[in-house]
């Protein structure tokens, strides 16, 4: 820290002072025109609150939303990885039809705004799937049972299970296009000689992928994949539009009920930042450790 300060030259200090004045001025002018009663003291109660009926601490709206966001991100991340690998392999397939289909799917997703994609997938796909499988009735049956702690740990409120699933599906389908591109880049980065060597010892196309190409390709794409996962967490806020009960949706509810517009949104932003920035630090460390291994 000290050596960092010693490294600063006078232009650095000038920039610093200018920045502070700039933000200070903005803050001052907001305070002057904005007749807003800040109520920060109420926010902790909406993260972990004291339940007046049950007489115990419980996870209130914001924390419920955060856990839901984390849950959805993990499930959607796994699903997107599976779909993305299939898509990436299909993109490098020798078969023209398969290649074209994969390309169509990808270009369709990449060139339409996420909000539109979310609505299309929700009403035309995940909704139909949930109706066809009768998931709503099934999950309600579970919610009515007594001992459902394990279900709740994995899926939260079982009555909202269909909406969680549609959120996961929509998010995974949307992100799979980008994961697919990353996988394709990984596969294409494997030298041609490797594939030819695999073929020359009599491996089939599948064996070549399974034993030679994919292990190397997937190892190479870990950093961009980690990056994509962080993007997925941020993108998960879009599915609040289809009323999945995640962090953004819960914040909207809190704002509608208590009118703490700025406090609630700043807290939510901080939650997203902590999760995403924390993850990026973890991934960076893992990468560094992997390098020292080799």
């Amino acid at each position: 820290m000290r050596s960092f300060i010693r490294k600063l030259r006078w232009p650095d200090y000038l920039i610093l002072v200018l920045l502070i004045t700039f933000f200070g001025y903005i803050w001052y002018s907001i305070g002057g025109t904005l007749n807003y009663k800040w109520r920060w003291e109420l926010i902790p109660g909406y993260i972990v609150g004291w339940h007046s009926g049950r007489e115990e601490y419980f996870a209130n709206l914001l924390l419920q939303g955060l856990t839901a966001t984390i849950r959805i991100s993990i499930y959607a991340g796994i699903l997107a990885l599976i779909l993305g690998i299939i898509l990436g392999v299909a993109r490098c397939s020798p078969n023209l039809t398969v290649r074209m289909l994969a390309r169509t799917y990808l270009e369709f997703l990449r060139n339409i705004p996420p909000v539109v994609v979310v609505f299309i997938f929700f009403f035309f796909l995940s909704q139909q799937l949930i109706d066809a499988l009768n998931l709503a009735r099934w999950s309600r049956g579970i919610a009515r049972q007594d001992d459902i702690l394990l279900w709740q740990i994995f899926f939260g409120d079982m009555r909202r299970f269909p909406s969680l699933i549609s959120g996961v599906i929509v998010l995974a389908l949307f992100e799979s296009a980008f994961v697919g591109e990353i996988v394709r880049a990984g596969i294409q980065s494997i030298p041609r000689g490797q594939r030819e060597a695999a073929r020359s010892i009599g491996m089939s196309h599948f064996q070549e992928l399974r034993y030679v190409v994919l292990p190397q390709a997937l190892k190479k794409v870990v950093p961009p994949m980690a990056n994509q996962f962080i993007t997925l967490i941020k993108d998960s806020s879009i599915i609040s539009l289809i009323s999945v009960q995640e962090l953004t949706f819960k914040t909207v509810e809190l704002v509608a009920s208590s009118r703490m517009i700025f406090e609630a949104w700043i807290t939510t932003a901080a939650f997203y930042f902590i999760v995403c920035f924390g993850l990026s630090r973890v991934f960076a460390r893992l990468e560094r450790e992997k390098k020292t291994d080799i």
């Binding site: 007749n35 109520r39 109420l42 109660g45 909406y46 609150g49 339940h51 007046s52 009926g53 419980f58 209130n60 709206l61 419920q64 009403f123 909704q127 139909q128 109706d131 066809a132 009735r137 309600r140 009555r159 909406s163 609040s240 539009l241 289809i242 009323s243 009960q245 949706f249 909207v252 509810e253 809190l254 509608a256 009920s257 208590s258 009118r259 703490m260």
Partner: protein, 277 residues
């Protein structure tokens, strides 16, 4: 090699055929279902699913994170009378009608006022609540004034520019002076400060403002301007459900229960401690 490829092709074709056929089967099944009433589904599942969007005091989250409000009382009573469980599905307002049409819930009970535009897409029951604009007046300045007295050049109204109240005031009190502001809060503040006699806003805002400042403000008249009715919204083509809900609402009006609940949430502040306001 050639044989396996052909076999693969046939398998693929078969798989495609089933995936295309499956929705067709389920579609005919949904068509079969939709010919039945939603009342049947509710009885069968033992649960009524109600879509709502949070709006104080219709519905809101209390300090425990639970849903409370006028809609919640209505929904819970309705479920109790039907002998089923109730499930509230918080939904964003923009997507609430598509979600109803898509079948995410059985009815919208969310302070939705009946408009011709909405009615083209969904069916409405008879109103279970009425809302409208009310006059919020300065207590000492309007002491003993009748409604006709407000329509005089000595009386000053404050209202928000471009909003419905300004238009309604101009229509009903053409002789009064009208002060225009850029926001509702400023208009109320003028009445509080004694610079204007009265303001007008959608209920329950005037009642709540009067409740907050009981020594300076009051709502002198119970009648509402530009009134609208709020009703349950259900999917089209379901006369059984419409009949059931209409009769339930009529009964609750007759017994005075709806009025009493509405009064509790809209005209009193007894629940204010439960919510961070």
């Amino acid at each position: 090699m050639k044989l396996t490829r052909r076999a693969l092709g046939i398998a693929l074709a078969a798989a495609t055929a089933t995936t295309i056929a499956a929705p067709a089967i389920s579609q005919s099944a949904t068509q079969g279902l939709s010919s039945e009433s939603v009342i049947e589904t509710i009885k069968q599942d033992g649960v009524i699913r109600i879509g709502l969007s949070l709006f104080v005091p219709w519905s809101m989250r209390d300090k425990n994170g639970d849903l409370i409000g006028f809609e919640l009382d209505v929904g819970r009573q309705l479920a109790e009378d039907m002998g089923v469980e109730v499930e509230f599905v918080p939904t964003s307002w923009d997507g609430i009608i598509p979600a109803l049409v898509a079948g995410n819930f059985d009815a919208i009970i969310s302070g939705m006022s009946i408009t011709a535009q909405r009615n083209l897409t969904v069916n409405f029951t008879n109103p279970y609540a009425y809302s409208g604009l009310a006059i919020l007046a300065n207590k000492s300045m309007t002491e003993g004034m009748s409604l006709e007295d407000y329509n005089s050049a000595d009386v000053t109204f404050a209202a928000r520019r471009g909003a419905t109240p300004a238009v309604v005031i101009a229509k009903h009190f053409p002789d009064a002076t009208l002060l225009l502001f850029d926001e509702d809060g400023a208009a109320t503040q003028e009445v509080l400060n004694g610079n204007a006699h009265a303001s007008m806003a959608a209920q329950p805002t005037p009642n709540r403002e009067a409740g907050r400042n009981p020594e300076t403000l009051h709502v002198p008249f119970a009648n509402l301007y530009d009134p609208r009715g709020e009703a349950f919204a259900i999917r089209k083509g379901d006369p059984d459900a419409l009949n059931f809900f209409n009769n339930w609402i009529a009964q609750q009006w007759r017994s005075g229960w709806l009025e009493e609940r509405h009064n509790y949430w809209f005209n009193t502040e007894e629940w204010a401690g439960e919510v961070a306001q």
